[in-house]
Subunit: 193 residues, 2 copies
DNA sequence: CACTATTTTCAGTCTTGACTGAAACAACCG
DNA sequence: CGGTTGTTTCAGTCAAGACTGAAAATAGTG
């Protein structure tokens, strides 16, 4: 299948982006292709469209499955595996966040906890100990936040993101008059602190 | 300078993390070293501690400067360059988010806008056009959200993160009684929708 | 200006991991 | 079961880019 100009550009750009993230180019391209095409494709179609080796496609599809980014769909009268990805970008975003968190964040949190528990921690400067603790606290806070966010429905998540930093008025030290009134009036909503 | 066990582990782990992100190992290690040490260090000290080539340190320091993650501090009676990084993890986080956004997110947004403006867009499926639009909308929303967040003071940002998904009650479709009351009572704060 | 201390540059080497093609494997079908 | 279709594995190749050492550049200092 020959891609139309915009789809081609989209796929190529996504591939480049992928490689500046942790994902390799082919993996990112295949995902972009499935996303933009919006229908299940088999490995040979993908191979032909992207002009890479069949085996490369096979391995990349496996990688995408590990990321929970694609699923195989059976097609009546065709026994080849066909793959599709969600076309809901917010759903997609949620999956990526969840996976990256569990691959990159959680293991680091483990290491930091381990550092603080180890007998060797006492021999470090007090200030260094403090910085490790603060790093852990930051990562735990972000991790908890991400966990909460990915539990939300895509539509809700979108609204929360769009609400954005406006919520700062609920917690800020020098808030506007309106925000102060709100924060003081309803401490029960603001679990923080 | 010989690192103590925990500091060594911290630096090595941070280096590995760096390479699964976009940053190369040495760059991440140097940053971790400056962070955990908490005082300005010169290039030779870093070279000796991390056991890499002097030139590698030189290039990595430049890279860290480009990321705005270190600054050079003059030391009385020593003409060698000394470098330090912030020891405030939230400040650090803010810098990383700002830089990654401008390197990875903003250019992609540009490409997507360009795709939609191009004459070729009309020849794509209606559904594909829609998906590109939605992708752009998602990225713009996240980008705007990040911009707002990094304008906040570290302490405020921390509070907002800790408040977390609880704000969903302000926008959720089936909120608790208290949240509904809040959302209805103060539409002026919730700019969204 | 000659001399020393320090940093930067850069061509070449080395490492890592993506990619390929061929072969093995698995599933189905008559 | 033999043949056909489709998928996965894997050893080897290749490319990107991290890293090095030596040489060049820069900045102080008497």
């Amino acid at each position: 299948m020959e891609l139309k100009p915009v789809a081609k550009r989209f796929v190529l750009h996504w591939g480049e982006m992928g490689s500046t993230w942790g994902v390799n180019r082919t993996v990112a391209q295949i995902h972009a292709l499935l996303f933009i095409t919006g229908r299940p494709m088999n490995a040979d179609e993908i191979t032909e469209t992207l002009d890479v080796a069949r085996s490369n496609v096979s391995m990349s599809l496996k990688e995408l499955s590990n990321w929970n980014l694609i699923r195989s769909v059976p097609l009546m009268g065709d026994r080849r595996d066909h793959y599709e990805t969600t076309t809901d970008v917010w759903e997609l975003f949620r999956t990526v966040v969840r996976e990256r968190k569990s691959r990159e964040f959680d293991p680091t949190i483990e290491v930091l906890r381990d550092c603080l528990k180890s007998g060797d921690i006492a021999s470090e400067d007090k200030a260094a100990q403090m910085r490790i603790k603060e790093t852990l606290a930051l990562m735990e806070a972000l991790s908890a936040w991400a966990s909460e966010m990915i539990r939300l429905e895509p539509a809700t998540m979108m609204k929360v993101i769009k609400l954005g930093a406006k919520v700062q008025h609920l917690v800020h030290g020098k808030p506007s008059a309106a925000a102060t009134k709100s924060a003081n009036a309803r401490p029960n909503i603001i679990g923080a602190e």
